[in-house]
Structures are given as structure tokens and as C-alpha cells.
């Protein structure tokens, strides 16, 4: 994590304060782990797996509530039919590349079996974005061992960003993308809650890229930083994971997930046809223990929820920007290169539009 984050450059987006780590791990119990897969033989791989534990050690024993939203569904997130039905998320889950969804999904089953989770069957969540420009996706470089490694590596504390884990080979607004995270702290309903976001950012046109409203993508044109590819119909995708310790019901998690759309829009995502823009939100403010027949839970009143929505939008926005700021130029499959967003150019654009001194 030698590269600075957005705020290290003096740039602040949004109005709400971040948590201590400005990361999804500001939500107590959330753990993140990466397995980064980079090799040039036998195939060129720039890929990996990012694992998230929603509720610490007892993620299987004490489910959290969850909901998802697909802003544009040219992507995959397994396990969502079950989440839509029951509103519960009762296991760690992973993000990886498109063609590794299956191996990682089954690895989550195997991991549960190995850890003797007392459930007959598993319907785990695995999401994806496509890294085939930098990585030889058709060589299927991700193995169950990578998923296990990401799951075992998961920890609280700071989260590595940029070219790591599932984000290793990703591209965002025609700059190098990857994993990013951020958080917000809000007071509402008489309590203080945290909302954290983690993104695997792999979407977007250069021309639409904005930072706090400044048209940075237009300021840093292909003459300054070359596009990686001449695309008529740009693809790519973004997975957004939102976590909060607020006591949201499943229907409220779904509402929260939908607000990732707002943060995505602020950076310049419009849900292009080729993009799988799929958002999962979970809330640790209630835990539902396996075997309990009637659970006592709390629900934040709808008229108290708006600050959490704003927090979700802001955390998503900043997580994407952190992904792009952290990512470094990468060369991979077929010699393709994707350039990092040059920090000096970013700061120059912000200054030009009155946002940095």
C-alpha cells in the first residue's frame, strides 16, 4: 500500500466523515482477504480472489441480513436468488474474475465442508468482473486454493487496494482499476452507525470520469494517457459490497444496495450495456443465530434511514476513486498495458476547477 489514497492527495469527496480506516472494515466484524494471482507461465494471469467475511468467525453461525440490487445485469453474483428470498447471508463470500465464478463458488462449499459447517447444502455468493484484457481468462488460472487463501487471509484492519485480489487485472474508466474501499460514519436514530463500501471496479468510459464533479476524464484525454483499447461498446463491470452495523431489515438492505447507483453515477458510471453493475448490502446490526426459532431483531425506522443512504452513496463513490488512485500501471496478456491514473494530472485537474489549492 505504498500508493496514496484519494484523501492523501488532498482530495475529499462527500460531506460525511469517514471511519478510522476509511474502509469497509470500519464495520466491526467485517474481514477482507485477497489472493493475488500474477504469473506469466504457463499462462499470463493477472487475476485473483477477494474474500469477505460479513460477521467475523461466526459468519456461518449467526447470519446477517442482506439484499442486493442489479443496476445493470451483464454480470454474475451467485447466491442472490436465495438472498432475495430470505434476506439472510450466512457465510463468507468472494469476488473474482468472470470465468472463475464456478471454481470459487464451489470452493466456498468445500471450505464450509472442511470447516464442518453443520448445514446440509450451501448456496454461496460469488461475484465477478471480467479481466480478460490483462489476464488470459480462458486459461482458467484461479484454483480452489486461491479461494481458500483469500478466505484464510481475511482480516480486520486496513484493506489493500488497487491491483490486488479479485481486482488485480481490472480497468476503470480506461485507467487501471481494481479493489477500493471507503466508509462513512453517520448519526441517526439516536445512535452512531458506520457504512462501508468495497468495490471491484472494472467499468466505465474515460470521458465520463469525474472526481467530486470535476471532469477529470475529459481533462486527461487519450493524448495524455492512452486508452488501453479501442472500444466501440465498452464492457467491464463493477461489484459493490456495502456493509453497515445499522439494524437494517432485509428490505432495507436492498434499499441500501440500490444507493450504490448514486455513488457510481457521481464517478461516471451509467450502467453501460456490457457492464455487470451488481451491488450487495449486508447489515450486521442484527445477527440471526442458526437454530433460533423466533429471532428478536431491531429495525431502524424508515424516516431515520436517509443518512445511511447518503453514506452508502458517498462510500461507494470514494471506494471507486480509491481503487483508481491505488492501482498501478500493469502489463499483461498479449502485452496489453493499462495505465494508472497519474496523480499529478488528477491534482492539476482538481486545481483547475477550484477544488484544490
Amino acid at each position: 500500500m505504498g500508493r496514496p489514497r484519494l484523501r492523501d492527495l488532498g482530495i475529499t469527496v462527500g460531506q460525511l466523515p469517514p471511519g478510522p480506516l476509511n474502509a469497509i472494515t470500519d464495520v466491526a466484524g467485517v474481514r477482507v482477504g485477497h489472493a493475488t494471482v500474477i504469473h506469466d507461465t504457463p499462462s499470463v494471469a493477472r487475476t485473483g480472489v477477494t474474500a469477505i467475511w460479513p460477521g467475523g468467525d461466526d459468519s456461518w453461525e449467526r447470519a446477517v441480513f442482506a439484499g442486493y440490487h442489479s443496476f445493470n445485469g451483464n454480470g454474475e453474483m451467485t447466491g442472490t436468488i436465495w438472498i432475495e428470498e430470505q434476506g439472510l447471508l450466512a457465510s463468507p463470500f468472494c469476488i473474482t474474475n468472470t470465468h472463475a465464478v464456478g471454481v470459487v463458488r464451489d470452493a466456498l462449499v468445500a471450505y464450509a465442508v472442511e470447516h464442518k459447517v453443520p448445514m446440509e447444502w450451501h448456496l454461496p455468493v460469488t461475484a465477478e468482473t471480467y479481466d480478460g484484457w490483462l489476464s488470459d481468462a480462458e486459461s482458467f488460472p484461479v484454483t480452489p486454493a486461491h479461494a481458500f487463501a483469500a478466505l484464510d487471509a481475511a482480516a480486520s484492519g486496513p484493506v489493500a487496494e488497487g491491483n490486488v485480489g479479485g481486482g488485480t487485472g481490472m480497468i476503470c474508466h480506461a485507467f487501471k482499476g481494481g479493489i477500493g474501499t471507503a466508509s462513512r460514519v453517520v448519526k441517526t436514530a439516536g445512535e452512531t452507525f458506520t457504512v462501508g463500501a468495497l468495490v471491484q471496479a472494472n467499468y466505465g468510459d474515460r470521458a465520463l470520469f469525474r472526481v467530486d464533479g470535476v471532469p477529470v476524464g475529459r481533462e486527461i484525454g487519450p493524448d495524455v494517457v492512452p486508452h488501453h483499447r479501442d472500444l466501440a461498446t465498452p464492457g467491464g463491470s463493477i461489484i459493490v459490497i456495502l456493509a453497515t452495523d445499522a439494524p437494517l431489515l432485509p428490505i432495507q438492505c436492498k434499499r441500501l444496495a440500490r444507493r450504490a447507483t448514486t455513488g457510481l453515477a457521481w464517478v461516471g458510471g451509467i450502467g453501460s450495456n456490457g457492464s455487470g453493475d451488481i451491488f450487495l448490502a449486508f447489515a450486521t446490526g442484527n445477527r440471526v443465530a442458526r437454530g433460533v426459532k423466533i429471532a428478536a431483531v431491531r429495525m431502524i425506522a424508515p424516516d431515520q434511514i436517509t443518512p445511511l443512504f447518503q453514506a452508502a452513496a458517498e462510500a461507494t463513490e470514494e471506494a471507486i476513486l480509491n481503487a483508481v488512485v491505488a492501482a498501478e500501471t500493469m502489463t499483461g496478456f498479449k502485452g496489453h498495458s493499462v495505465h494508472a491514473l497519474p496523480h499529478d494530472r488528477l491534482c492539476a485537474a482538481m486545481r483547475k476547477y477550484g477544488r484544490l489549492k
Copy 2:
């Protein structure tokens, strides 16, 4: 209620026991009221309004959780976008004829205003089925006063069935239809819960009509009881209201609502294109008081919920059959007649197929 109900004929459907009234009002706090509008001048009206209070006197003050499902959406139920978003139902609501949805919906606003409900705006629920065969729907015979009357008439206790309230002019499987109700009592999660159904039944082909699996509609053909109309593409609709005192979250209310499909299928509803088959479920097992910032609620565990699903299916099935058994032959607009299901023929068919001694 001079006409017998299904069980009065010795016919029992389903496996679970009904509540004391075998009606939606077996769920404590639920009230039902009808305003029946029948006149021949200035226009021929065979219509009305049925009002339901989900939670007694404090239906506005202490919301219940709710969810809806549209099996076939050629119909209207206002207020559902709000229910889908927040999962709360915080007012009485009505069922009427298709062309009176607006007047009744606004009457619910006016009723709330008149009763000084301290909410700035209202998004009330009003659902409909079409009675234009027996009633001159285009004369718009329903007025706000009818809605007020139904709301004021609402009571606990037995519920009038057949040609009453919103069900006055309805037609079901080419017999006279209308309002019907039923309930089931189940033990699960260590407690005892009631599920009640109320239907406004106005759908269906004669040939598909079944009672406990017996093809009664084929046994009582148009040679025995004439069809009211020669229909290439039969229209009609059914509104199903499900109530339970179980502690369901909104997402679980939606699941319950979807199970009305099963009960409807058992009687012979297939979701014809012209049918608005829309189901609303609410649960009084949690009440959310206005002004509470964080509500303490209970959630039945998903693995305890199946008996409630079976109860919803069975109550829906029997409510439809009660509607048809209670309804009486009616003549109305343009001299159209719709015949009641003859009870002796029904019993004969049940005997023929080994269901009645």
C-alpha cells in the same frame, strides 16, 4: 349469511384446522366492512366497496409489515410501490370495482384527513376487480360516501360473503362470485399462529374449476348451468388479502403473498392474461409505532415458516370456494344474469368422485 359455507355442505378442503370463524377476522385486530351498492336507477349498479383494517383502531398509528405479489398483473392495487419499498402498511384499505379505484383511493386520503391522522401525505391501498358485466361500471356508481361507509362498518367477527361489498357484481369460474374468507391455525416455532384470507373472486374458466381436486366445473357444464357469456378471452381477476398474527418481516410477507398462487391454482386459476391476480399479505405479529426511531421486532426463522405457507394456500383455496358457495344468482346491467353454483350439483359431483358420503 343465510347461504351455507363450504363446510356447511360437508366439504372440507386442506389439511390444517380453521380458526373459530374460519375467516380473516380470526387474526386479532383485523376488521372487515362492506358497502354494497345495488340500484337500477339512475344506472344499474351491482358493485360496492370492502374495507379492511389490518390492525384495529390504531391501524394508522402502529403499522404492520406487508408485502405483495402479482401473479398476473392485469389489475390495479395502488400503494404497492410504497409497500415494496418500505414493507409497511399503516392504514385501512379497500377493494372495489376497477373504475372506482380512484374515488375510493382518494376517499381513503379524505378519511384520514377527517380523522386527523398526523401524516403529511397518504399513499393508500385500493385494489379492484371488474364488474362491468353485471354493473354499469361506466356510470361510476361508487362515491366517497360508500368508501366511508365500508370503513365505518368494519368490524371483527363473522364476515359476510358472496354478493357483498366490492364483491357484489363479481363472477368466478362462470358462476356467481364475490367475497369469501377462510382461515387456518398452525403451530410452528413453538407458538400458535393464524393465517386468514379474504378474496374478491372474479376470475376463471368453468372447465378448470375444482373442489378438493374434483373437476366440478366439468361436471356442471353449460348445459346444466349456462355460462353468463361467450368469452374467447375471459377476463376477470382475483384480489387475495392474507393476514397473519405471526411475526413476519416484510420480506416474509411477500413470500406469504406469493403462496396465494398455490391456493388459486388448486381451485383452477391459471393467471389468464385478462386477469389481475394480485395478492397482499400483512402480518400483525409486529406493530411499528409511528415516531419510534428503532423498533424492536420479532422474526420467525425461515425454517419454521412452511406451515404458514401451507396455511396461506389452504385459506386462499377455501376463501374462493366460500365466495362461490355464498354467492347467489344475480341479474343486472343489460339484463345479464350470472348463476350461482348449485349446491346440490356440487355435492353430487363430490360424491361421484368419492369425497362425500
Copy 3:
């Protein structure tokens, strides 16, 4: 239309060119009409009805495809259950205030009856936002005659904006809001298509208001232009109508509708809990005549659709800004005043952030 529009101030948002009128009526066949209801006795009314004909004279005879999306469902749009089921919109429709949804909805039925539309029943679309701050909504000032007037007034050509029709009493980002419109022209799939938006804008916090990324709402604080109200949980809503002549299938109309979220986010809408942010998109590129058994239609390929998405986002963004720019300061119910966005202050803010010379 004495007040200028956004572009008249020298401010341009988005990258795509507008149509000749920069209005939803750039889509051939689309007509818009307003009935504005302003009076101080017997009650203080600042309200109205806006009517839209999707397909000219034969809006009833030749349906268009349609789809809707609810970004935050604290609002009402009738007729959506039917649109979700069949994907067809076969009548003119209206936008009004919250408590007039019923009267206007039934007026659409009556209007169809009066015009001898040969359909047995009608499930018309009526949407709303709440104007109770400036208008005595509980006096129910809208009548069927207002709906008829708006329907009859509908025309192609320029569209009046600001304090007109359904938008008369609306408030947006704590400035005076109302009706706004805009359009975009795109080339894709070898053809040229238009996407138009019309909004009834009544949502939003001042602090989140942005114009082309510039934080105008923060620049024009309550010290400069007073807030109309001290709101802990701001309400309000926005209805967005999107029209296009592209050959979209119903599922594609739904996708288009969802993109209004992006344009809304660009201006500063986050889907606050109290906001009914409901979007309806229709496509005139296919017309389905009543009575045809199998219709020949065209479908734009998904990989050609992204420019339409961008157009929908941009048109929505500019339509909102046009609503705010056109609206004029209004005083109404209980003496409440809501201030117009001062154009000079807007331009000053744009200059400060490098967007205007």
C-alpha cells in the same frame, strides 16, 4: 415561458446534442398538456395536472412499449402492475399532486369512456408528487375537469416549464421546482434516435444540488436564499417520464427507466426515504395495434443500446435543471414562500468553478 432555460444561461450539461426543442416532444407523436390550478379561495391551491400522450391521436389504438423503475418508492404511480406484466402503455397518462391521484386516475377512465375507446376496462397511469407546502392539498382542489383540460391541451411543440401543470406547487433542492424537460439525439445501430425526458421535480436537499458537477447548492446557502422550511427528514419526490423513438422492447424500456437514476444522481438526488422517485419509460419505435394477433416489432440489439442510456441520464439531468431554472418564486398555503434559484447566483457559481467564462 419568459424565463430562460438552462442553456439560455450559457450552461450546458452532458455530452450529447439535444433535439430541436430540447424537450420530450422532440420524440415524434409525444404531446404534453398542462392544467394549472392556482386560486386563493375557497382554498389556497397551487397545483395542477400534466398530461402526456405517448403516441399522438392513436395512443389508445396503437400501444407503445413501456417499463418503469422505482428508485425510491415513497410515491404512487398507478397502472404500473399492468405495465410490469405486459410491457404495454395504451393510453394518455397524467402527473398531479399526491392527493389527486384518484380523481385524475378515474378521470382518465371517464375520458376514455367519453371518447368511446373500445376497451372494457382501463388501468390508467397517474403519478404524483406532494405539493402540500404551497397548496392546501387536503382541500382536494383538483377535479376531473382539470384532468380533461390537461388532456385536451396536450400538444406537440415546446413544453411550458416551471410552475405549471402538476409541477405548479413543487419544490426542488429547496428552490422552487416544477416541470422540466430536455432531450438528446444519438446515433446508434445505424440510425438516429431521440430520447426525451419530462420531470415533475419536487425532491432534494439544497446541500446536494449540483450543476454539471459544480456544488451550486453549497454555494447558494440559506443565508443567500432562505430554505422554505426547517426539515429534519426532507420529503418530496420526482417523477421522470422518458420517451424515445428507438425500437425498444418492454424489457429495454425498463432498463432505460432505470437510467433516470443516473441523471437524478448527477443533480444531487439520493433517493431520500421520503421521496417517491419513480421513472416511466416508453418507446414509440414500435406500435402495437389493438386486435393484431401477432405483431411484427423491432428490437435494438443490447450492444447498441448504451448511447440511449447515456441520453436518458443526460436528458433527465437537464430536465431537472430546466425545471429549477424555469420555476419562479411562489407564495401559497399558509403564506409559505419558496424561492426561485437566482440565475445570477447560479452563473456566478459556475464561473467560480471554471464552467462559465
Copy 4:
């Protein structure tokens, strides 16, 4: 296929005529293939893969329209987020056991890569039901080779039923279940269309099992045919695949999929909490070739579609019954046995209730 099918026993359900094969393959172009995995070492496997090609050889080149519905989502069907977004199905797909979803899903990607399908990324459909009672699911016996074998074995013509392919180890209403298929032919909109169903049936309580309305499950109690297991909360699932050659749009495919609920209800499925009842419908009546920018397609008018709905319900009903009739008693993992439905007892029950001479 030595075992008879339902009609071979003299039992007919439904009112519409079946196609020549009474199978999903009556829809031209549809191919089905099975890979059955049965071994006792190194682990006890009673599992497999069933592959379906929606459109013959050019299933990848010329997409069909598709839609899905989840009646109860305790299951997995990958690829549905993409289908919900675009309404297109452009590849063969598979059904297998729960814990093999990943390996089979990735095998579909690998199969496409191997066959040089010119698409950058793949989001294939793989669905599942759980066979862990008869098969050691946690030994992960399914390999990519099995998926390839099922895909390569796919053919038009009769479809093997019962203990084959993905259905090998399945259990239905506490009898042995598995794969079943059926079809219906309907005339509507001036043309003749076929609707076919294929099910992987693994759900249901004995007591709810009905054949043409006859309570066969109650007639053949555990004293006659032992239950395989003492279940408080029965699990299991059913995947229903519906195919038609009618020209349905995506939104209409979704409607068709929802009608599988009706057929399922007729046999006794109530969507138990533990059941993943997920239905996919596709229509070959339109084919959308890759690379076409604007496709000419046909749409059946909504008012002509009801016969297809009835066909979908009937085909689903009979496909389930064919699965149960075809399945044979199986012993597997841990010595568990699941008994076939005894045909003589079935016929006796039908005779008792007046359905068979």
C-alpha cells in the same frame, strides 16, 4: 426407458393435447442430454448433469428470448441476473446437483472456449437441486467431463426420464424423483404452438402429492411405502425448464415461467422454505443473431397468450408426474433407500376416486 410413463398407465392430466413425443423436444431445435454419475467408490455418487440446448447447433449464434421466475428461492440458477436484464439466452445450459453448480458452470465456459464461440465472456446458466441423501455430495463427484458429456450427448427425440442426468439422485414427494418431461400443443393467434417442460423434481411432502386432483400421497402412506427420512422441515427443490416455439418477448417468457407455479401446485408443491423452486422459460419463436444491430421479431398479442399459460401449467404438471412414474427405487449414500411410486398403487388410487376404469 423400460418404465412406463404416466399416460402408459392410462392416466391423463390436463385438457390440452401433448406433442408427438410428449417431451420438451417437441419444440423444434431443443436438445437434451444426460450424463449419469453412479459409482460406489471412491465415494458413493448418485448424481449427474442434464444439458439443454435451446436452439440446436446455433444456440450460441442465434439467441432465444428467455425469462425466469423464482417461486421459492432456496436454490441456485446462475446466469439469471443477465437474463433478467437482457432477456436473451445464448448458450446451452445445465442442471446438476447443488454442490456441482460451480464446476458445471465453469465447464460451460470452457466448452464455449473450446468450441471457439466468439464472445469475450460468458455468463452461463446452471441450476441445481440437492441430492445429498442418496449421493455423497460433499465428495464432489461431478467433473467438467460430465458436463461436456451431457452437452455432447444432447439430442432431439425422446428424453430419458427418472434416475438420469441431474435427476439421478433426486426425491419427489417422498418417492424417488428425477427428470421428467411433457409437452402441450395449442392453437392461438391463428397458429399452432408447442410448449414443452422438463423438470428436475426433488421437492415435496408425501401428504400433498396429487395426481389429477386425487390425493395419491395420502392413499399411499408411509405404512405402504416408507418415507426415506423423518423430516421436520423437508427440503428439496424443483427446477422447471419451459420451452416454446411461440413468438414470445422476454417479458412474456417471464410470464410463462411464472405459470410453472400452477402446474407445481396441481401436483402438490407449495414452495416449502427449503425448496428452490426456480423456473426458466425460453421461446424459440424469435432468434436474435449475434451482430445484428436491429432485429426484426414477432410478438404474440397478450390477449392470445392464455392458452400458452395453460399449456405451461399442464406440461409442468405432467413432467413432474412423468419423473415420479419413471424413477426407480434407488439405494445410495449411507445405505439410504428411496422407493419408487408403485404403479399398481397409483392406479388403485385413481380407480378409487373415479379416474380410471
